[in-house]
C-alpha cells in the first residue's frame, strides 16, 4: 500500500463523544440524578438569595424551633436556621466529599490496574502497602495527618482520599486480573503496545464500572468522615455549616427535635441517590452494548 502523509486520524473522534452525550441524555434516570444534584448545587451557589439568614449567626432566643414558614427546616440548638445551614453546607460537604472520592477513585484505579497488570513484586509491594493503609484506624491516620500537615479543609480532603484509596485499588486490581488474561489485551501485547497504554486504553475502561459504583456510594460516607475529622480538629472548624457535623450533633436530638438531624439526612440521601443514579447512568453509557 502506498503511504500518504495525511493528518492522523483522531483517536477520540467527535462522533464518539457526541454518542456518549446522546446516550447520557437518553438515559432518563441519569437525567433525574443530574437534575437533583444540579438543583442542590445551584441552591448552594445561590444560597444568599434563597434564604434571609446567615448560617453562622446564632440566635439563642429561637433555638429548637420546629419547621415553620419562617424556618422551613426548623432551627438548631443555638437558633440557626437549618435550611440555611444545609444550603451553605452543601458547598463544603458535597464539594469536599466528591472531590475526595474522585481523587481516591482515580488514584486507586491507576494503582490497582498497574498492580494487577504487572503482578509479581510490584503487585506484592503495592497490595501489602494497601493492606497496611486499610489496617490503620482511620482516626489515627487523620489525627496524624492533621498534625503533620496542619489542620485545614484541604488536608481533610487529602486524608479522606488517602484512606479511601485501597478499596479502589483492590477493585480495579481484581478486574484487571481477569482482563489481563483476555484475548484482546493479549493481542494488544502482541502488537508491542506499551504496557501503560494497554492499561490506559484497554484495562481501565473495562474495569472502571465497579469503581464508579463504589465511588458514588462512598460520597455519603465521605461526608460523614469529614464530620468526624472536624470533631478531631482536622477539617472544617465550627461554626462552618457542614452536613456531617449537623447530623452527628443533631442525632441526639432526634427524639425531641426530629427535624434537626432529619433534614440534613434527607439531603445526604438525596445527593447520594442522585449520584448513584448518575453513576449507574455513566456505567450504562460506558458500556457500548447498552445503546439505549
Amino acid at each position: 500500500m502506498e503511504v500518504q502523509t495525511q493528518t492522523e486520524v483522531q483517536q477520540a473522534p467527535f462522533v464518539k463523544r457526541s454518542a456518549l452525550l446522546y446516550k447520557l441524555k437518553k438515559n432518563k434516570l441519569t437525567m433525574v440524578g443530574a437534575v437533583i444534584l444540579g438543583v442542590i448545587i445551584l441552591a448552594a451557589l445561590f444560597a444568599p438569595l434563597l434564604t434571609p439568614y446567615n448560617p453562622n449567626v446564632i440566635d439563642a432566643a429561637n433555638k429548637f424551633q420546629g419547621p415553620s414558614w419562617a424556618h422551613w427546616f426548623g432551627t438548631d440548638e443555638v437558633g440557626r436556621d437549618i435550611f440555611t445551614r444545609i444550603l451553605y453546607g452543601a458547598r463544603l460537604s458535597l464539594g469536599l466529599a466528591i472531590v475526595a472520592i474522585v481523587i481516591a477513585a482515580i488514584v486507586g484505579l491507576m494503582i490497582g490496574t498497574v498492580s494487577g497488570y504487572f503482578g509479581g513484586y510490584i503487585d506484592q509491594i503495592i497490595m501489602r502497602t494497601m493492606d497496611m493503609i486499610l489496617a490503620f484506624p482511620t482516626l489515627i491516620l487523620a489525627m496524624a495527618l492533621a498534625a503533620a500537615l496542619g489542620p485545614s479543609i484541604q488536608n481533610a480532603m487529602i486524608a479522606i482520599a488517602f484512606v479511601k484509596i485501597p478499596v479502589y485499588v483492590r477493585l480495579a486490581r481484581s478486574e484487571t486480573l481477569s482482563l489481563r488474561e483476555s484475548l484482546f489485551v493479549k493481542s494488544a501485547q502482541t502488537f508491542g503496545i506499551h504496557p501503560f497504554r494497554i492499561i490506559r486504553k484497554h484495562i481501565m475502561p473495562n474495569s472502571v464500572s465497579p469503581v464508579i459504583i463504589q465511588g458514588t456510594l462512598d460520597v455519603g460516607d465521605a461526608i460523614l468522615l469529614i464530620a468526624t475529622l472536624g470533631f478531631l480538629g482536622l477539617g472544617a472548624q465550627p461554626p462552618a455549616p457542614e452536613w456531617g457535623a449537623m447530623i452527628s450533633i443533631g442525632w441526639k436530638y432526634l427524639l425531641d427535635f426530629w427535624w434537626y438531624p432529619t433534614f440534613p439526612c434527607l439531603f445526604l440521601f438525596l445527593s447520594a441517590g442522585a449520584l448513584n443514579l448518575m453513576g449507574d447512568g455513566i456505567r450504562d453509557v460506558l458500556d457500548p452494548r447498552s445503546s439505549r
Binding site: 489525627m143 472548624q237 465550627p238 461554626p239 441526639k252 432526634l254
Partner: protein, 505 residues
C-alpha cells in the same frame, strides 16, 4: 433467666421493677478500679461503696464525719495526725481492718507512685501506735489533709491484696477488676462493656437493703431515656440536659436538681497568649462581654447556677458577696479602648471532651463579637487540647474543674499559684507574686477561719484581675425512679451513690 415470651414491655432486660435489684445506667465503662491508681471520678461510683475510709463526707455537706476512724486529732504544727479506729470493721474475706491494714494500704498507694500518691506526697511516715491507733507524719503542714482522706483514694485496701501480686505490681492488676474492701458492697461480676454488678459484702458492718446493684453501660442518652420510661433502669446518668424536659413528664421518675461543684470556666491566657491579654483591662472586658444568663439557658437549658468568685457555692470559702461580672457591652468596649486593644482576634481552644462545649464556644464567639473581639474557634482532639493547655498554646480555652476533696484549696491554690502553671491547675498562666504569697499562707494554716479570710482576700484580687471568665456552676441533674428512696446527694461525691442507705420499693 427471665421469661422470653416476647409479649412486649416486660421482656426487655427488665429488672428495673424488681425489688432486690437496683439498676443504674452509666454512659461508659470503667477503667482500673484500684483506689491507689485511679484518679477517675467515675470509677468511684463502684469503689466508693466497696471500700471504707478513715473519714467520710457527712450527708450533703462537704465536711467530714467519722468513718473507720471514730476520732482523730492533729498536732499544733499540723504535721502529725492520729486516728483511733472503730473495732469490728472487716474486709470481705473476714480479715480485720486494723491500724496495720491502714498503714499497709497507704504505703501501698505511695509505693505505686501514681496520681493518688501525688495527693499523699505530704505523708512522710505512717506509724501503728496500737492495734487501733494509727498516725501520719506529714512533711509539712497541709490542712486539707483530712479532706483528702475522705476521697476515693483514701479507701482502705485489704492487705491480702499482695497475695495477688504479679511482677511486683503490688496487686494493681488484680485490683483493676476486683474490689478488696470493707464497704457494704463488693464487685461480683464485671462484663466488660456491658455491666458491673455489686453484691452485698457479707462481712460488712453495715448491711444494706438492696441485695444487688447493676451498673449498666448505656452509652446513648436517648436509649437511657426509653429504658427509664419502661422501668428497665432506675437511675439514668447519661441523659443530656437538652432531653431532660421530656424526663420531667415521666410519671414514675423524679428529677433531682442540685448545684454541683463542677465549674465551667474559660482560661484567659494571661502570660503566654495574645499580648493584649496580659492587660487586666482586656481580661475584664472579656468577662464583661459574656451574656451569662443566656449562656446558662442555651448551653444547659437553665440547669446551671451563675458563679460568684472562683470557689463554688456549696463549698466553704465561697463568698456570696463576691463581685460577679455581668454583661455590659459598653463597659467592655470602653475597657478595650482604654487598653488600646483594637480589632482583637483571639483563638478559643476546645475539644469534644464535653458535649456542650461546642454550643458554649459558639455562644462565646457570638457574645464577644458584640464587643468587637473576633474569636476563632480551634477545636482539636482531646489529647491534643491537653498538650496545648500544658504548653499554653492558646488565647482562650474552655475548661471544667471539680474538686477532689472538700477544701477551697482545690480551687484557689490550684488555679492561681504560679507554681501550678499549665495542666496542673493554673491554666490561665496567671502570675501574681502577692497572690502566691497569700495562697501559700492559706495553705499552711490550720485555722479554718483564718484560711477563709485569706481566701476571701485572694478572691477579691483575682476577680479583679480576671484571668478566668467564670461562667457557671453546672447543676447536678439526675432522673431517679420513684421506687428508689434514700439517695443523698453530696456535691463532693457527684455520681456516687450512698448505696448502703438506699432502698427500693
Amino acid at each position: 433467666p427471665s421469661d422470653d415470651k416476647g409479649d412486649g414491655t416486660e421482656t426487655a432486660d427488665g429488672q428495673g421493677g424488681e425489688k432486690e435489684i437496683l439498676t443504674v445506667a452509666m454512659t461508659a465503662d470503667q477503667g482500673t478500679l484500684d483506689p491507689a491508681v485511679t484518679m477517675d471520678n467515675s470509677a468511684w461510683k463502684i469503689t466508693y461503696p466497696a471500700y471504707e475510709r478513715l473519714v467520710e463526707y457527712d450527708g450533703e455537706s462537704t465536711e467530714v464525719k467519722p468513718g473507720v476512724a471514730k476520732d482523730w486529732n492533729v498536732s499544733d504544727d499540723g504535721k502529725k495526725w492520729t486516728f483511733t479506729l472503730n473495732e469490728g470493721h472487716k474486709f470481705s474475706d473476714g480479715t480485720e481492718l486494723n491500724a496495720e491494714a491502714v498503714k499497709a494500704s497507704f504505703e501501698r498507694t505511695l509505693a505505686i507512685e501514681n496520681g493518688p500518691a501525688e495527693v499523699y506526697s505530704v505523708i512522710s511516715e505512717i506509724n501503728v501506735e496500737s492495734d487501733y491507733v494509727v498516725s501520719f507524719e506529714l512533711g509539712e503542714n497541709f490542712p486539707p489533709f483530712l479532706s483528702t482522706l475522705a476521697a476515693n483514694y483514701g479507701g482502705i485496701v485489704n492487705p491480702k491484696v499482695l497475695e495477688h501480686e504479679k511482677d511486683g505490681d503490688l496487686g494493681q492488676n488484680y485490683l483493676a477488676t476486683n474490689t478488696m474492701g470493707s464497704g457494704s458492697y463488693e464487685l461480683t461480676e464485671w462484663k466488660q462493656g456491658e455491666y458491673i454488678k455489686l453484691s452485698i459484702n457479707k462481712e460488712a458492718k453495715v448491711q444494706p437493703s438492696i441485695p444487688e446493684v447493676y451498673f449498666r453501660i448505656v452509652a446513648d442518652g436517648a436509649t437511657q431515656r426509653m429504658q427509664l420510661e419502661k422501668g428497665e433502669i432506675d437511675i439514668a446518668e447519661g441523659i443530656p440536659t437538652e432531653q431532660i424536659e421530656s424526663v420531667k413528664s415521666m410519671e414514675q421518675v423524679e428529677l433531682l436538681q442540685k448545684p454541683s461543684l463542677l465549674v465551667d470556666y474559660v482560661y484567659v491566657n494571661s502570660s503566654k497568649g495574645n499580648e493584649a491579654l496580659k492587660n487586666p483591662k482586656v481580661r475584664q472586658a472579656l468577662s464583661y462581654g459574656i451574656d451569662y444568663e443566656s449562656m446558662i439557658n442555651v448551653v444547659h437549658q437553665g440547669y446551671a447556677t451563675p458563679m460568684r468568685g472562683p470557689v463554688p457555692d456549696g463549698l466553704w470559702g465561697h463568698n456570696p458577696a463576691s463581685f460577679q461580672y455581668e454583661l455590659d457591652i459598653n463597659k467592655a468596649k470602653s475597657l478595650l479602648e482604654e487598653a488600646g486593644a483594637k480589632d482583637l482576634t483571639l483563638t478559643l481552644l476546645y475539644s469534644d471532651n464535653k458535649t456542650w462545649w461546642e454550643t458554649e464556644a459558639l455562644t462565646i464567639q457570638a457574645n464577644l463579637k458584640e464587643i468587637g473581639v473576633d474569636v476563632k474557634l480551634n477545636k482539636v482532639a482531646y489529647a491534643t487540647s491537653r498538650e496545648m493547655m500544658e504548653k499554653g498554646e492558646f488565647d482562650l480555652s474552655l475548661g471544667v474543674w471539680s474538686p477532689d476533696f472538700g477544701d477551697p484549696y482545690m480551687f484557689m491554690n490550684y488555679w492561681y499559684d504560679s507554681e501550678n502553671l499549665g495542666l496542673a491547675g493554673n491554666r490561665a498562666f496567671y502570675q501574681n507574686e502577692e497572690v502566691d504569697k497569700l495562697l501559700r499562707q492559706a495553705a499552711t494554716s490550720n485555722d479554718q477561719e483564718e484560711r477563709e479570710a485569706l481566701y476571701y482576700e485572694i478572691q477579691d484580687i483575682v476577680i479583679e484581675e480576671a484571668p478566668y471568665i467564670l461562667l457557671f456552676q453546672k447543676d447536678f441533674v439526675l432522673p431517679v425512679s420513684h421506687s428508689v428512696k434514700g439517695f443523698v446527694y453530696n456535691p463532693m461525691l457527684e455520681g456516687i451513690y450512698n448505696l448502703a442507705e438506699m432502698t427500693k420499693q
